[in-house]
């Protein structure tokens, strides 16, 4: 059992957790993830390890509450335990001294990019974090990123905070101003990662994307997470999650992410019904 020792809401729809997992805390590196199973009837699902404290034996997770599993997670309290946490899984993010690296993140990807920015900066790079949210209330981990990156740019879709627009527009301007990054890292919703890859392709800027394929085991055993990269089938969990963004078949991945939409809806309705039923009883 993996005990939650700290929990806080970052926004109405995302949650920050510190969880006891000493072995994982000791071994994890930036870009790696864990697979969780909340309870006996739960599914196995992946979350990025945002941070860890090897001394204390804890890892930090940040989840956007989008469906049954993440909402179940969001309902747990400090002192509660998660039934299963497995990891660290996936290859760590590569970090060499390339010079100037732009790290773009959207939505919950902002939490996932934090360890990557730290790692890439520690390798000697000048790091520009460019993060986006739908509106000001959904901007998360701003202070942490401001400290981690050399420069921080914030955008919101509605202009309520930072620059009005998309993270790709910031990157576009940087490139136009002649400040072409030596490398780009992008993590977030598929359309965003795809847009970043499309933007950097003409300039031949090496662009790494961290893919969020649907997973089951996370150890290379099922193939649920397969993606096509450079015409070859890869398993995101063991070959990734980081891949060359210019080689990824985003179209296929986008379709694969939609496989279970009717079931996800059914599951969530059932969960919310039982959860609200429990509230009535209280």
């Amino acid at each position: 059992m993996y005990r939650i020792i700290e929990k806080k809401k970052l926004t109405p729809e995302s949650v920050f957790l510190r969880v006891e997992a000493p072995r994982i805390a000791r071994r994890r590196r930036a870009g790696q993830f864990v697979i969780l199973r909340i309870d006996e009837t739960g599914e196995r699902f992946p979350l990025t390890i945002v941070d860890s404290d090897p001394e204390e034996g804890t890892i930090t997770l940040v989840a956007q509450e989008v469906g049954t599993s993440t909402k179940k997670l969001g309902r747990l309290k400090e002192g509660d335990s998660i039934l299963d946490v497995t990891g660290p899984l996936g290859h760590p993010t590569e970090a060499e001294n390339w010079g100037r690296v732009a790290c773009l993140a959207g939505g919950i990807g902002v939490a996932e990019v934090l360890p990557v920015v730290k790692e890439i900066r520690a390798a000697g790079n000048f790091t520009q974090a460019i993060i986006g949210a739908r509106n000001q209330d959904l901007v998360i981990l701003e202070d942490e990123l401001r400290e981690a990156a050399n420069e921080l740019y914030i955008t919101t879709d509605d202009g309520s905070y930072g620059r009005h627009g998309l993270v790709t527009e910031v990157l576009h301007d940087l490139i136009n101003d002649g400040a072409i990054p030596d490398r780009v890292y992008a993590i977030g919703p598929l359309p965003m990662m795809r847009a970043v890859a499309d933007l950097t392709r003409p300039y031949d800027i090496p662009t790494i994307v961290s893919l969020n394929a649907l997973m089951v085991d996370g150890t290379g055993m099922c193939g649920s997470c397969r993606v096509t990269v450079g015409g070859e089938t890869k398993f995101t969990c063991v070959d990734g999650p980081d891949f060359d963004g210019h080689q990824v078949d985003f179209e296929e991945l986008g379709k694969r992410q939609k496989i279970y939409i009717p079931q996800e809806k059914c599951s969530l309705e059932r969960f919310e019904l039982s959860a609200s039923g429990a509230n009535v009883k209280e």
């Binding site: 071994r27 599914e43 497995t86 085991d217 150890t219 089938t233 296929e252």
Partner: protein, 456 residues
Amino acid sequence: MAEQRPEERIHNSNEVPYGFTPEQAQLEAERCLQCKNAPCMKGCPVEVDIPAFIQLIKEGDFSGAARKLKETNSLPAVCGRVCPQEDQCEEVCVLGIKGDPVAIGTLERFAADWEMEHPADSSSSLPAQEKAKVAVIGAGPAGLTAAADLARFGYRVTIFEALHQPGGVLSYGIPEFRLPKKIVNLEVKNVTNMGVDLQLNQVAGSTITIDELFQDGFRAIFIGTGAGLPRFMGIPGENLNGVYSANEYLTRVNLMKAYLFPEYDTPVIMGKKVCVIGGGNVAMDSARTALRLGAEEVTIVYRRTRKEAPARAEEIHHAGEEGVIFKFLTLPIRYLEDDAGWVIGMEALEMELGEPDESGRRRPLPIEGSEFMIDCDLVVVAIGNSPNPLLPRATPGLKLGWKGIIETDHETGRTSLPGIFAGGDIATGAATVIEAMGAGKRAARGIDNYLMSKSE
């Protein structure tokens, strides 16, 4: 043996054969000739004392029979169900020359089940476990067997298992209707009751490395990580929605209990017209699972014929009885999709058999111009699994062979690295439960000899 009728059983996940009643078991045991040279035992990879346990059943000492089985076989209730006895002990049984061999597998299942339902107050006493610490990686049949034997020898054993459930393929692969998970859990419990420490969610090579294990004081390591990497054919459309590897399909259903969705959170696509590619046990299990999930039509697509199919005869027979359609001499060459990326069918080629290949089976050859279409809305690719590369990749110096198997000495399980032993599917490629157990047993002896010689 009595079985659930096909029309009924495709609507539930209960076991198909009912097993013997005590009367039936004793009657069957009477048939055994108690051969002095017991050819049946030589057909058994773990050398179960077959005449002795059958004699005890005959005498009505059922728990004695179970104890006799467990002297050499830590998982008799599993083996009684899934071993290919027709190729092993029963194949060489003397009675089989003229008529039916003794139903050794069914008797084994009977004794083991009887023991589970009537647990003895305190089973055999164990030696104190005060010898060295030994780590076992993977809680499949190979790892569980090695762990049980090492505990018996007096070693302090810890099993590290990557998944949240022990059992390996027994838990995630073989379906409930062939091997109830209750049975697997009870047999695993017998192993942990021997003092073996089972740690789940531990991915060796990642959560913990081989070096760390040695640093933590483990004096020897057994690797039994299986052949868990699903193979695909590499044909166009294999990543379409609605194309599963058998591993994913069976894992969703068995390990994650997707057949109970939405009570359980893991979903699985329930196809109406399902095609399963392959001719082994895994293909039969997938096809029969699809029927139980409500498919209207399930077709096995296999490039050779029934005769070459590696599945157990019993499984092909059961699948046929249940209404699975067989399309032999057929090779898929690409999958077709609709606008949303879902599979709607496949293009296939007809095959004919040519000269024997390296496996001794006649090689299937495509017939030119024989392309045709098969409609389907779900495909399960069951063309085999390769050794899981995760741990070997993380362990420099470990010598690998054909298709990434770990090279071992057959008798001792020794690998190219000192103190590291391996066995089961990771060392042979996908094989059988009992062969994995045999390898676990030999490696336990190998480890014992290695540690004894070191302490001298």
